[in-house]
């Protein structure tokens, strides 16, 4: 069975061109970029090229890019550094809907004596910027607010946030793991001090990430040891993956229009058709500005894991915000923070597309999904009245 992969916010296929670009750097050009000899030097050149490519996707300077092992490392490095450079400030601001990479760290820090404020979102997943304004003060060391949410795709007004942060002299970090490569950004004209990105969300392999660090922003390294990455991140460079990330960023730049036209149109069509065919459905974050590729839909009276497994039988890969897929008993913290009613939260499914998806695949989902929902509703003791109209 050929898979229909609609779980690109979880991870993506490595683009063939990306793989070809990195391939020689395992067995052939395996030199250490830090070595003095020509053999390491030629790898160094490719690493530099990769840095340029990543920088150019972000509208940043090459020296503002630090390669890391993943998005989580970038997030950790940014937040910990901000706390170290201004030890007198003891307040951290984040949101209730962050990825665990940020949320778990902040909650751990709160046990170490930091004051942590988690900003709320509204029913559509939009950030309460007024709350940010009212809680930020001279004690705030760092504000870490994601660029776009992984579950709903809702985009946060990061530049507006950055302005507020600057007024209080705090640092602003954004987890942009879901946004980079999907929407355009330009660090030259931005209020962001630090930005985390991850390779495997944009068709590079797993195990590579980067941290954008604005020139002039003080920094304390998270990993110490050798002088790699200008002593900002020790450890021998993962050269093959860095080269892959560079290529992936170059391609992402080229496909940005495609993402915001063709991919978005497929997402919109999927959304429209589902809403038209299936009764008692709502789109989580549907009224907010969203990433072009993400669709989170809540089906009432059915449970997410059951939907996923039936779709799985058809080769359709998606994910859910339901509790039952995670082993926890409560639905996702994002949907709960949005106040999505429990009746819907348990039956929420996320489809996340990429440039590799086709119209045919979307047609297939539009064909296969409604019977799955109908079948589960027929089995359910609730909401039986909706079946009559169906």
């Amino acid at each position: 069975m050929k898979e229909i992969y609609l779980d690109n916010n979880a991870t993506t296929k490595v683009d063939d061109q990306v793989f070809e670009e990195m391939r020689p750097y395992f067995c052939e050009f395996y030199g250490n970029p830090s070595s003095m000899h020509f053999f390491g030097g030629q790898v160094q050149k490719k690493v530099d090229e990769a840095r340029n490519r990543v920088a150019s996707l972000l509208g940043a300077l090459p020296e503002e890019i630090i390669f890391t092992s993943c998005g989580t490392e970038s997030d950790n490095a940014a937040i910990r550094s901000a706390l170290e450079v201004s030890p007198e400030r003891r307040h951290i601001i984040t949101t209730r809907v962050e990825h665990p990479a940020v949320l778990t760290l902040c909650r751990n820090l709160s046990k170490r004596g930091y004051r942590v404020t988690e900003i709320a979102v509204d029913g559509e997943g939009r950030l309460d910027v007024d709350e940010l304004r009212s809680v930020i003060d001279e004690d705030t060391a760092i504000v870490s607010i994601m660029y776009a949410n992984n579950e709903t795709g809702v985009i946060f007004p990061v530049e507006e946030v950055g302005k507020i942060v600057k007024e209080k002299g705090a640092l602003f970090h954004t987890d942009a793991v879901q946004a980079v490569g999907k929407i355009p950004m330009d660090m030259k004209n931005s209020t962001i001090d630090m930005l985390a990105l991850s390779g495997h969300k944009l068709h590079a392999p797993k195990g590579i990430g980067a941290l954008y660090l604005r020139k002039g922003v003080p920094f304390r390294p998270f990993m110490v040891g050798g002088h790699q990455e200008r002593s900002r991140r020790a450890g021998t460079e993962n050269s093959a993956s860095i080269i892959a990330l560079g290529k992936a960023c170059e391609l992402a730049g080229q496909f940005l229009d495609d993402e915001n036209n063709r991919v978005m149109a497929m997402r919109d069509r999927l959304e429209k058709e589902i809403l038209a065919i299936v009764p008692k459905v709502r789109v989580n974050g549907g009224l907010a500005e969203r990433l072009p590729n993400t669709l989170s839909v809540a089906f009432e009276f059915v449970e997410g894991e059951a939907i996923l497994l039936l779709l799985n039988e058809k080769g359709i890969c998606a994910s859910s915000g339901s509790a039952c897929t995670s082993g926890s008993l409560e639905p996702s913290h994002v949907l709960r923070a949005m106040g999505v009613p429990f009746t819907c939260a348990h039956g929420s499914i996320r489809f996340s597309l990429s440039r590799f998806n086709t119209e045919d695949e979307i047609n297939m989902v539009i064909r296969e999904l409604p019977p799955v929902i109908h079948r589960l509703r027929e089995m359910s003791p609730f909401g039986r009245e909706v079946l009559v109209s169906n």
Partner: protein, 286 residues
């Protein structure tokens, strides 16, 4: 992805006995939409009203909930009511070739629905969930408010499955998997049932100076209480400490929440557990 057995998968994909029985003799309903799973079981009895001739179900829930319901109906058909009552949740899981431990509550839900159906038919009270059957006499006291689960029901599940930890109890019944406020009580129940001494998890200091007590209270609020509230979008602020009286104000989702009284009790319980027996928590406007 869950590691389901082929049998679970097969019963999920082709569930037996789905639907309702219009003239059912007995109906058992457990769970709710909010809980994430629910099962409505219909039984049809023979002339003598002793033997189950037909069983059907409607289930809202994950794959293992559906498979467990399907298995249950297959297992009880042809059995007398007394024989059916002897079926344990363990046997339901076994019928399916086993369930992941985190999913054992699905098999418990099946057995529970059966108990409820038969008890209702016979007009006796049953230990069960508290959510959806207002008309029923429930035995025991609610221990887990989040999932509406009584002490009687928990004791029964603990005993029949020989559960030793609160985590296991959560896997089997869901109790403790929400706010976690009922976990100390669950530990007590385990101790009671298994005849073990409850483990003293946190040593309360024997004697406290006033200063030390205040520090400890702040500490417990920071480390043990607030993180749990955050998880539900709430927060609290410590307003004042006067001797054993601790005044707090709720913030965010907790402020104005109908169950904040329950939350205040939870805070008090935590502080008593960690700091001193005589602590009283009062909610104030702040």
């Amino acid at each position: 992805m869950w590691d389901y057995t082929d049998k679970v998968r097969e019963h999920f994909l082709n569930p037996r006995n789905v639907g309702e029985i219009k003239d059912a003799d007995a109906i058992g309903e457990v769970g709710s939409l909010a809980c994430g799973d629910a099962l409505k079981l219909y039984l049809k009895l023979d002339e003598s009203k002793e033997r189950i001739v037909d069983a059907k179900f409607q289930t809202f829930g994950c794959a293992s909930a559906i498979a467990s319901s399907s298995a249950l109906t297959e297992m009880i058909k042809g059995k007398t009511l007394d024989e059916a009552l002897n079926i344990t949740n363990h046997e339901i899981a076994e019928f399916l070739g086993g369930l992941p431990e985190e999913k054992m509550h699905c098999s418990v839900m099946g057995q529970e629905a059966l108990d409820v159906a038969i008890a209702k038919y016979r007009g006796t009270a049953v230990p069960s969930h508290g959510h959806d059957h207002e008309h029923m006499e429930m035995e025991g006291e609610i221990v887990c408010k989040c999932f509406g689960i009584t002490d009687q029901f928990l004791k029964k599940v603990i005993a029949s499955n020989e559960l030793h930890t609160a985590e296991q109890v959560t896997h089997f019944t869901k109790a403790g998997g929400g706010c976690g406020g009922c976990i100390p009580k669950i530990n007590e129940l385990i101790a009671e049932v298994m005849g073990e001494q409850p483990k003293e998890e946190h040593k309360r200091p024997a004697k406290l100076t006033n200063l030390r007590k205040m520090q400890l209270i702040q500490d417990v609020l920071e480390k043990e209480v607030r993180p749990l509230l955050w998880a539900d979008g709430g927060d609290l602020e410590l307003i004042d400490i006067a001797g054993s009286l601790v005044q707090i104000a709720f913030r965010k989702a907790c402020a104005g929440c109908v169950s904040s009284g329950h939350t205040a009790k939870f805070v008090e319980q935590k502080l008593r557990e960690y700091v001193a027996e005589d602590i009283r928590v009062e909610e104030v406007e702040g």
